[in-house]
């Protein structure tokens, strides 16, 4: 990757760079992390940036915030190839790949309209993570595609 491409998204001082997100998924990454800028976070997003590893990739930089392992794990559902760089004083101090969690709580909504979790019950949605999708722990519906559509907005 050339310096020219890197400059498309400005460097951050302290925070997290989520790199190698599949093209077009950057905004879903922000949604899954609950970042909408309303808290004053400084966020830079590159969409469909040329990449060596993926033909086109997205990149998300969040200034002033280090992602927790839980947040990173949930990201894996929509960005399985993402790399997470924790930046302090412009230096990458930690770099790791996302890992798929066994379960995700309170992040996705069940697409089955007949599922009890879609009623106004005091229950947190829970999905088991399968090799090739996610499965509602209540109604057992399996979702393999368009998981990002289930993200609670």
């Amino acid at each position: 990757m050339s310096a020219d491409h890197e400059l498309r998204v400005s460097k951050i001082r302290n925070g997290t760079v989520i790199d190698h997100v599949h093209g077009g998924q950057a905004l879903n990454v922000l949604t899954i992390l609950g970042i909408d800028g309303s808290e004053g976070e400084e966020v830079s997003v590159g969409i469909n940036v040329p990449s060596d590893r993926l033909a086109r990739k997205d990149i998300v930089k969040v200034e002033g915030r280090e992602l927790s392992q839980d947040e990173v794990d949930v990201l894996s559902l929509i960005a399985p190839d993402a790399t997470i760089n924790i930046v302090r004083e412009y230096d990458v101090v930690e770099k790791h790949r996302v890992e798929r969690p066994a379960v995700v709580d309170g992040v996705l909504s069940c697409p089955n309209p007949n599922c009890i979790t879609t009623d106004s019950e005091p229950v947190t949605s829970t999905f088991d993570v399968l090799d090739d999708g996610v499965r509602c722990a209540y109604c057992e519906t399996i979702v393999r595609e368009d998981i990002a559509d289930l993200i609670d907005g």
Binding site: N112, N114, C115, I116, T117, E121, E140, T141
Partner: protein
């Protein structure tokens, strides 16, 4: 049984199933021995959709154990119509009863409800989800008539929406059973169920018609194909007739074939089958009482 609640047949091991069926057989052989066993025990019946049969079967089971039941009356007159959540309803009724039975139209309702209560909760049907006590009485009937090992079973009819079919198929993965699924293309088993059955290493074969497999079957489990599942009446008429059986059809079957049905039936099993030695569906329905007595006895505990 080591479970607090009974939500799905998937949670039942072979040992769990055998424990319930053995206890049910003891009770069926000598019902008087358990007649006063649970005097003073109250079972809460929470039926959010009508099901006279299942409800009466639980009611009979509890009363035959010496206990009693409380229920919430008709859905229309209950606080549900005032918008109370299911979570609140079960928490309130938990204070009245020693165990709960829940029938609810939403999938996953029993799983959710069980998270809010400490008394044992039995799922009596959650939408298109599970119906594990039906499965236990089906297994009891199969064990009595054909045995549960080295079993070849055909399951025919509406396999897509039939929760009794899904529950039974899961439970049979604990046994050495070859399962043949016979249905029109549009009413095949949901892919999720097939996925689970394969995960369990079950032998699953799907067929369009009964003829080829009928002679090899020990059990034929028939369910109703519902007219309302078809957008177009003609389409229904075309398939429905192919999945009906009468006494003449069964001449091609093994003499020991057992024909089962969760009832109510409409016209998928002709009345002339009732007179043959194959018919086991009324006995199957009656088995619901000793099986539910056994289950309640195990869940509530035998301290009295």
């Amino acid at each position: 049984m080591c479970h607090e609640h009974l939500i799905t047949s998937k949670q039942l091991s072979r040992a769990d199933i055998e424990q319930v069926l053995d206890r049910a057989a003891e009770i069926a052989a000598d019902p008087d021995a358990v007649a006063g066993r649970h005097v003073g025990t109250l079972l809460g019946l929470l039926f959010f959709e009508p099901s006279t049969r299942t409800k009466m079967s639980f009611e009979t089971a509890m009363k035959r154990l010496g206990g009693d039941v409380v229920d919430m009356g008709s859905i229309e007159s209950s606080s549900v119509t005032k918008g109370e959540s299911l979570a609140d309803t079960v928490r309130v009724i938990e204070g009245y009863a020693d165990a709960l039975v829940l029938r609810h139209p939403k999938q996953g309702s029993a799983t959710m409800a069980s998270e809010f209560v400490d008394v044992p909760l039995v799922n009596a049907g959650d939408g298109a989800g599970h119906h594990p006590t039906q499965t236990l009485l089906d297994l009891y009937t199969i064990r009595e008539s054909a045995g549960l090992d080295d079993l070849t079973i055909g399951i025919m009819g509406d396999l897509k929406y039939g929760r009794t079919v899904h529950s039974l198929a899961y439970a049979l993965t604990n046994f050495d059973a070859q399962q043949h699924f016979i249905s029109p293309e549009s009413l095949r088993l949901p892919r999720e169920v097939v996925y689970d059955l394969h995960q369990e290493g079950a032998s699953v074969r799907e067929h369009d018609g009964l003829e080829a497999v009928l002679p090899s079957l020990d059990v034929l489990y028939v369910t109703r194909i519902q007219r309302e599942r078809f957008p177009d009446e003609n389409e229904y008429q075309q398939v429905a007739g192919e999945y009906q059986i009468d006494a003449a059809d069964l001449e091609a079957a093994n003499d020991d074939l057992t024909v089962m049905h969760p009832l109510p039936r409409v016209d998928e099993i002709a009345p002339d089958v009732d007179e043959t030695s194959h018919a086991a569906y009324f006995e199957q329905a009656h088995n619901g009482v000793p099986v539910r007595m056994a289950l309640l006895d195990l869940l509530i505990g035998g301290s009295q």
